[in-house]
Amino acid sequence: MDKSQGRTGVSGGEAALAPVVTKSGHRALDQNEPLIFEQGVPGRIGVDVAPAPKVASKLGAFARKAEVGLPCLSEPQVVRHFTRLSQKNYGIDSGLFPLGSCTMKHNPRLNEKMARLPGFADIHPLQPVKTVQGALELIDRLAHWLKALTGMPAVAMSPAAGAHGELCGMVAIWSAIAAKGETATRKRVLVPESAHGTNPATAALLGFHVDPIPAAADGRVDLAAFEKKLGPDVAAIMLTNPNTCGLFERDIRKIADLIHKAGGYFYCDGANYNAIAGRVRPADLGVDAMHINLHKTFSTPHGGGGPGSGPVVLSDLLAPYAPLPYVVHGKDGFRLVETKEGDAKPFGRLKAFNGQMGMFVRALAYMLSHGADGIRQASEDAVLNANYVQARLKDVMTPAFGGTCMHEALFDDTFLEGTGVSTLDFAKAMIDEGYHPMTMYFPLVVHGAMLVEPTESESKESLDTFIDTLRHLAGETKKPGAADFFHAAPRLAPRRRLDETRAARAPVLRWKPPAATKQAAE
């Protein structure tokens, strides 16, 4: 079968794309790099360590006898190893990264430079407070920005990531419920079916029963279904706004009023706050608690899966329960409050030390760079870009819902019906075209979902090229033989599709020396 149709610019069709066999296993810039454990020679070293002074050992009976089993390499070998690994990775710096819900916006290098100032990077969390006044000032200043932008009176700074922030916000709600003596009765948390998985996981961690709310035909919370679920046993609603379909919940004020009237609280998942920062204040929507992913809205790097940072803004009702530690400003400068004092009723500590300081520095550098005016403009451009993508693709792909969207455009797989091409296949074909796939099969309320979030970082030219590529791919799905072609994608990435079933069936989670592997096999 000729599978080369539509592959303009590739002479020789499939043959030109056949794997090239090289002696070394390398493929030009794509180097076949063994594990670090498969390299090295005993005795080599990549760090020169000064000789230890002669002194009697105090290790007692604890001196290590067994080898650790680490490989020994020199510095150039290690640098080359990790440089080669980096070349197998796609990042925002590499190209458009339309991963919906994840907000892959540009990560300014100024932020990195600021985080490395010794005054921030080289201070110990338990240094005397008088030696870290600038650090506490920075935390206080970032808190001020977060409170001003959201209109909320308080913020808990210590959560380490978005899900950790959710936990913080929900524990504050749990604490307020406990203070009213209602923990035994208020056991139900309402979570829309479209929610991030972290929402139900967090609620369950607190012993709440998760009760899903269905979505209406327009992709928003079904208000009637929500009203029916309200009752004296409802603790809270966890609602993302804009929601995971990329839509603003029009009835949000009504939802907030109703949950409050029922004696419950409104937890807002702030994962999509980047769509409205500077244009809408969550306080004006009736929110009681909302986490802010500094690694989404405020550009701190995702780093291949962290570290993140998830401060939580809190209403007056929840503020007294904010966790330890927190920063206060008094006549003697800034103080770090590490134990209960005054009228505060802190629910405890969520992690060691004082929060993700390195991320705070980066986020504040971003905020100062943009300013309040730039943050507003960034939100507007993010929404503009998503709508532009949706408008220019709606005749060849199928938007999941009608009308305009917020910062991300959601498509379903209706346009793939009858082609034999799945959402996964379509996304994998994007890899060969030089793009990171969009978020797939999420939210769960849309069949074969494709969630495209271009972010404000993309220029019009970049979006046009991306759109033209997707239009082309959508056209290709209609041609004979399309299913085979798409199913074989990606062809040009450092790896073809990986066998995930095999990985899960008999998990290999670490390297073992060849002898050990052989023994285990026998």
Partner: protein
């Protein structure tokens, strides 16, 4: 604004393509009362790069970096030298600006280093498997307790009195809202004392620390055996992972789960975060583990590759039935750890650990000779506790003015505990010079 590519002309053309008159129309679903008409008040407007640098440098300048003083502060965060190439590697855009590796075909770089990281953590701790990292040691400790609750179907954790108070408080906080019981012993350098007697049929785990918060090394093999006999798990927290280059790993003493703080390798102090939580366990418990796991497999052409695996434990698949709510972890800090440990290797890690130990032993000798100071720790790695004749917080404060960050006073970790007030916990690493130590000892003699 330098981060925003659009010109006004771009915006006009795009609005026309969308078919709306203005960007306001795109915010039409926002309730009228909640639409901000203008820029948020009370905040500054856009700044040049140079202006931002000035603002930030002014704040940074109000701190006294540990490196500008003779610094001996530890207790779960240690000042080590990080080779220049570590920071170079983690700032490569392909690592820095990548996402969680859900698309393995274009994320083999991240996945391969996570596989190497998991292997390194397992080897260091003497355990069978490790995950791809947690937020920090304290949160890893909580996750370990909750995992023990799942494995044993019980709900009471017993915590050593020598567990870092921040780890203890984090576990206690989670216990309150998650509904498991926590029995924490009073602070004592003898961290194993009284633990075995506490184990009963409801105990899911016993949590010890090694080296403990007073720096003391303690053999918990007998306790691990007692746990096993009672159907409970032994969890060991390692606050200073460099110690593994010098001491018997907790896996050899029978730990079921080892958690740790990986900051010491590859990561700076950063005022407490971001750090990298380590989590290792016996292989039989792998399906109860929290967090990401990277596993080996092959691609469609049969070539070796890596993927995130056993995701059915995780929140994005399993939702309210997940083993944890964790999503983002500490990927880039784990990379820094992996690069630094690769540079060290077997030889470098052992040399580094030996140097740390020698410096601490030397410092203990010097401080032990100061009149009024008594050593509280017999066997230790690079940290030990001393008892002073007066409140340690005041002494630490006074020593700042003499250019010495003397360590962590008991009052900071156990506020209001009179028995701990005179205790000072002191750490030494390869970054301390003999001159630093002499200066510390001389200044201490003056202050007490």
């Amino acid at each position: 604004m330098r981060y925003l590519p659009h010109t006004e002309n771009d915006r006009r053309q795009m609005l026309a393509a969308i078919g709306v008159p203005s960007v306001d129309a795109l915010f039409a679903d926002v309730p009228e009362a909640a639409r901000l008409k203008d820029v948020v008040a009370g905040l500054s407007n856009t700044m040049t790069e140079l202006e931002v640098e000035r603002e930030m440098a002014a704040m940074a300048g109000k701190n006294r970096p540990a490196g500008s003083m003779a610094s001996f502060v530890g207790c779960g965060a240690y000042r080590h030298h990080v080779p220049a190439s570590v920071d170079y590697i983690i700032q490569r855009g392909e690592f820095l600006t990548s996402y969680t590796p859900y698309q393995p075909e274009i994320a083999q770089g991240t996945l391969q280093y996570l596989f190497e990281f998991q292997t390194q953590v397992a080897l260091l701790t003497g355990m069978e498997v490790a995950n791809a990292s947690m937020y920090d040691a304290a949160t890893a400790c909580v996750e370990a307790v909750m995992m023990a609750n799942r494995v044993t179907r019980r709900g009471k954790a017993i915590l050593s009195g020598a567990l870092h108070p921040h780890y203890r408080e984090t576990v206690e906080t989670h216990g309150r809202f998650s509904g498991f019981a926590v029995d924490a012993l009073a602070p004592s350098p003898e961290g194993l004392k009284g633990l075995a007697e506490k184990i009963d049929a409801t105990t899911s785990c016993v949590v010890v620390q090694y080296p403990n918060v007073f720096g003391r090394l303690e053999d918990f093999s007998a306790l691990a055996a007692a746990c096993q006999k009672a159907g409970a798990l032994l969890i060991c927290a390692v606050p200073e992972i460099v110690s593994m280059g010098a001491v018997t790993p907790p896996g050899e003493m029978g730990a079921d789960i080892v958690v740790g703080e990986g900051q010491s390798i590859g990561n700076g102090l950063n005022f407490g975060g971001p750090y990298v939580g380590l989590f290792a366990a016996k292989e039989k418990y792998v399906r109860q583990m929290p967090g990401r796991l990277c596993g080996e497999t092959v691609d469609a052409e049969g070539r070796r590759g890596w993927v995130l695996t056993l995701s059915t434990r995780e929140q994005h698949i399993r939702r309210e039935k997940a083993t944890s709510n964790i999503c983002t972890n500490s990927g880039l800090c784990a990379l820094a750890f992996t690069v630094h440990l690769s540079l060290l290797g077997e030889r470098g890690l052992k040399e580094l650990a030996a140097l740390n130990h020698a410096h601490a032993a030397l410092l203990a000798e010097k401080l032990g000779k100061v009149k009024g100071v008594s050593l509280m720790t017999d066997a230790f790695f690079n940290e030990f506790a001393i008892r002073l004749p007066k409140d340690a917080a005041g002494v630490v404060d006074a020593l700042v003015d003499k250019g010495v960050l003397a360590g962590v006073p008991g009052g900071r970790l156990w506020p209001g505990n009179a028995d701990m007030a005179n205790v000072l916990i002191v750490a030494a690493t390869e970054t301390n010079t003999t001159a630093d130590m002499d200066r510390f000892a001389a200044a201490l003699a003056e202050v007490i």
